[in-house]
Symmetry: C2
Subunit: 369 residues, 2 copies
Amino acid sequence: MPTRILDREDVAWLLHKVGRHEIMDEVIAALHASLRDYDSRVIEVRKRDGFNYDRRRGARFGAHSVEETGGLLEWMPVLDFGADATIKIVSYNPQNPQRFSIPTILATICRFDIKSGRLLALCDGVLLTALRTGAASAIATRVLAHPDARSVGIIGTGAQAVTQLHALSRVMKIDHVYGFDTDPQAAHSFASRVEFLGLDVQIVDLERLEAAADVIVTATSVAVGKGPVFPGRDLRPHLHVNAIGADVPGKFECPRELVETALVCPDFLAQAVVEGECQQIPEEQIGPSLIQLVKKPEEYSRYRASRTVFDSTGFALEDKVALEVFIKYADQYDIGATVEIEAIPADPLNPYSLPEVALRVLGRTAGTK
Amino acid sequence: MPTRILDREDVAWLLHKVGRHEIMDEVIAALHASLRDYDSRVIEVRKRDGFNYDRRRGARFGAHSVEETGGLLEWMPVLDFGADATIKIVSYNPQNPQRFSIPTILATICRFDIKSGRLLALCDGVLLTALRTGAASAIATRVLAHPDARSVGIIGTGAQAVTQLHALSRVMKIDHVYGFDTDPQAAHSFASRVEFLGLDVQIVDLERLEAAADVIVTATSVAVGKGPVFPGRDLRPHLHVNAIGADVPGKFECPRELVETALVCPDFLAQAVVEGECQQIPEEQIGPSLIQLVKKPEEYSRYRASRTVFDSTGFALEDKVALEVFIKYADQYDIGATVEIEAIPADPLNPYSLPEVALRVLGRTAGTK
């Protein structure tokens, strides 16, 4: 009963073998198809839930001294009824780059066969999260941005910015890219990190960025209560925003006036009203979801001339789709080792009936230990 | 940033190397210590949540034909604040033994470092669930059963029954074991599955079992609404029951009259009122939790002469403890391979910066593929 593992080497190998443009295009196409065909009677997406360490930061209980820097650990389950279930477990530790030289967002994705409950696959979720979040923005941008949009402003030029710009470049012609980050190092290194796209990238101040951008992406770690991340004083009349930084109640990135007046489209309403830009407006003011946009794009095409916001909180369906793309390529190239993680006993009614395994291993290691 | 994997071979090896009595004793001792030292400001246990396939069984949506047999997939998270988080993902597919010759309950356990969000370890949860559920019953039995209790009745002699009886045998002297199962095969094979305990095991009818038992364990897959699993007409005045079958709302195993009159002690109140025997009584009638029992056993010792029920719904803290016991032994014997699952990039701000991995692997496999 093996579990297939797609690890760091495997996803890196596929990224280079298949090509990042081809993989991004495939994730965009597969996500588009999943959204278009979405049927809530077949696919059950759960709202993200998790632990928020901020709550008890700096506390001291008995022998425990708690010196945390804040962060989240969250689980994102989605059930494909009659087939499988996918659960991404994702962490958000915004001090990771400085403290440990690792990304803010780490993740792994598990897939289960629902007929038996078996763990079918375990896959990296770091690269896949970046890809699928980019793909979602690309799909929203294709439906909501002005047809002549050519300039992109990126606020928060960290890890997610790379795949955001990459994904946008696959669905729109980009003449100019304007970047901004409160961290000078992240701003400074952005152009080299997206050099493979061959775009004109300038680091500018927020005023210049917001005045010049047809499409804005916000991908920040702004703290709760510290938003918005751009002033919103001089925005283009047809501006489309992909606000992707949402991950915790109270955090938002867009100016309230923009959210009040624009067409605001959540990826997943139940989550967006808790964590996303939709927190800023009454529920009856919220526009169609990404699923509704994709199912009937013609109904919303008139909004391309006005201001629109894609409230991207991160949707478990996206993780399912990204996993399926990687499993497809892994099958094609026969990549990914298998491990028997679950201790399936020889007799299903006897959890201790693992002797053949143990004796084999004891025998093997007796001489080597 | 490797993740340590304790797979089927590893846990089987440890079970045989360390010895199952020693491992069970260690899980009982470690769980007892964790319950005794439990501080809800430091340990945050989440109520089990999950997908229940029963809800849409036999449905047909568009192209999807759903021919399911019912079952669950659930996640059980627990946070040790300032240290780590443990999430067990557990499935319950009661037709597994007949359909696939695998256990009803499958599981894997993940551990995360909360400072960085990294996946530290991934371990089998099949053996560990059986062990920790046994250990919880042993602890409840030690506090609540009559000091002279010598006979054990097991209703539902499947996989969990093996570790239930094993755990009880570590904390009480057992003269007689009476088993019952609605499945003749499970009943017939029980004695041989617990032969290693050297106990006198008889398969009897429910009337004989309930009349003769000082301690009863219910470990059944009884369907929702089909309980109780024993009549409760002729119970000993000091009977202690470990009811461990709870896993879904509406399911219970004990006769209502017993639950109404006994001291009912849940492992985890919030879960027991939804899934456990506690569903059958008003909340104000529920007795102390296992944690309260362990913290102040002397306060409840008078109940040993009367009827008591341990309402064991399965508690994420137990999984955390079982994982820690296995990690301790794995450290001691240097067992468990490491895998880099998370695609940590060379540059934390660039998810695509995995070239050294990809080139190494592309180079290596170019000749072998």
